[in-house]
């Protein structure tokens, strides 16, 4: 079995897996830092009075912010990361798979409600598709992960369907 076949088999096992997690509170500081990092000076992301005049209780997060955060936990120790910096456990690939490049292959996001600073966010993660395509340099395994970001009452803010490529 080739390495990419092993990855593809691993992805097939993941298909249909679903989990819910509490991510935490989206803070004013997190929003302001994210907006600074992307270079977007929209005052909705930094000026509370400006946001309030437009009907929000506080500043709001840039639409794609929550779907862009890779790790909501404390994180792993350096020895628990692969050479490329990705986690050995809890990531897309099993720890015994080496020599495979994993990268983002695109994302579809639906923005249902804006996220106001102070919102406590949960996520439901589900693996919804996997397939293999023949690329120029060999087979490529695809995995599609759906993340639904919501609050404790089930109010949905953002739904993201992210494609991950392994080759």
């Amino acid at each position: 079995m080739t390495v990419i076949e092993k990855v593809s088999e691993h992805f097939r096992v993941m298909l249909g897996q679903k989990k819910e997690e509490h991510l935490g509170t989206i803070t004013d500081l997190m929003i302001k830092r994210y907006a600074l990092a992307i270079g977007d000076d929209n005052p909705l992301y930094s000026d509370r009075e400006y946001a309030r005049k437009r009907g929000y209780e506080d500043i709001i997060a840039p639409p794609n912010m929550v779907a862009s955060i890779v790790d909501w936990s404390v994180g792993l120790k350096e020895e628990d990361l692969h050479e490329d910096g990705t986690p050995k456990t809890g990531g897309i690939l099993p720890s015994n798979i080496q020599g495979i490049r994993v990268m983002g292959g695109g994302e579809m996001k639906k923005f249902i409600n804006p996220i106001v600073a102070g919102t406590d966010v949960y996520v439901t993660t589900e693996v919804i598709d996997t397939h293999v395509k023949e690329g120029k340099k060999g087979p490529i395994a695809f995995l599609v992960i759906k993340n639904t970001f919501k609050d404790a009452k089930g109010k949905i803010y953002c739904i993201s369907e992210r494609t991950v490529i392994a080759r």
Binding site: I69, L76, K109
Partner: protein
């Protein structure tokens, strides 16, 4: 964008083929470091040049989500405070590195009324200095009717 009220785009005045004002972005290693930090992304390809060279790239790489953030801003700058970004699809076709100027462009390709809401579809492109498309995309934006 400034704190002054921007001109509001309205559905009734938008035309198919209309182009959004171009947004240019120049990324730096510091910006990529900050983006890795705020998204808690430990992938070395985005902050460790020595590692990126080992993987065969000429420098550290712009994050896929940062490409998406630029195309998001193109849309939100244009739609104004009364517009609503309903959806955004972004695909990464080519890597980008710090120092390159990335140009984000958008064209209105469809407008339709759905359940009383005025929706416009925007064809998006983020291109590098060699006119290669790094990230094509598509957005749907709800605009005030008048």
């Amino acid at each position: 964008m400034s704190n002054t009220q921007p001109l509001q785009v309205v559905y009734s005045e938008v035309e198919i083929g209309e182009e959004l004002p171009i947004l240019k972005k120049n990324t730096s290693p510091l910006q990529l470091f900050r983006y890795s930090a705020i998204t808690w992304n430990t992938h070395r390809i985005h902050f460790d040049k020595e590692y990126a060279l080992k993987e065969g790239y000429p420098n550290i790489l712009v994050h896929s989500h940062l490409h998406g953030a630029f195309l998001t801003q193109l849309c939100t700058d244009w739609m104004g405070d009364r517009g609503e970004l309903k959806s955004l699809e972004v695909n990464i076709k080519r890597f980008a590195i710090p120092g390159e100027t990335l140009t984000c462009k958008g064209t209105v390709v469809e407008k339709k009324m759905v359940d009383g809401e005025g929706l416009v579809t925007i064809d998006l492109k983020e291109i590098n200095e060699q006119a290669e498309v790094c990230a094509p995309g598509r957005a749907v934006i709800k605009l005030p009717l008048v």
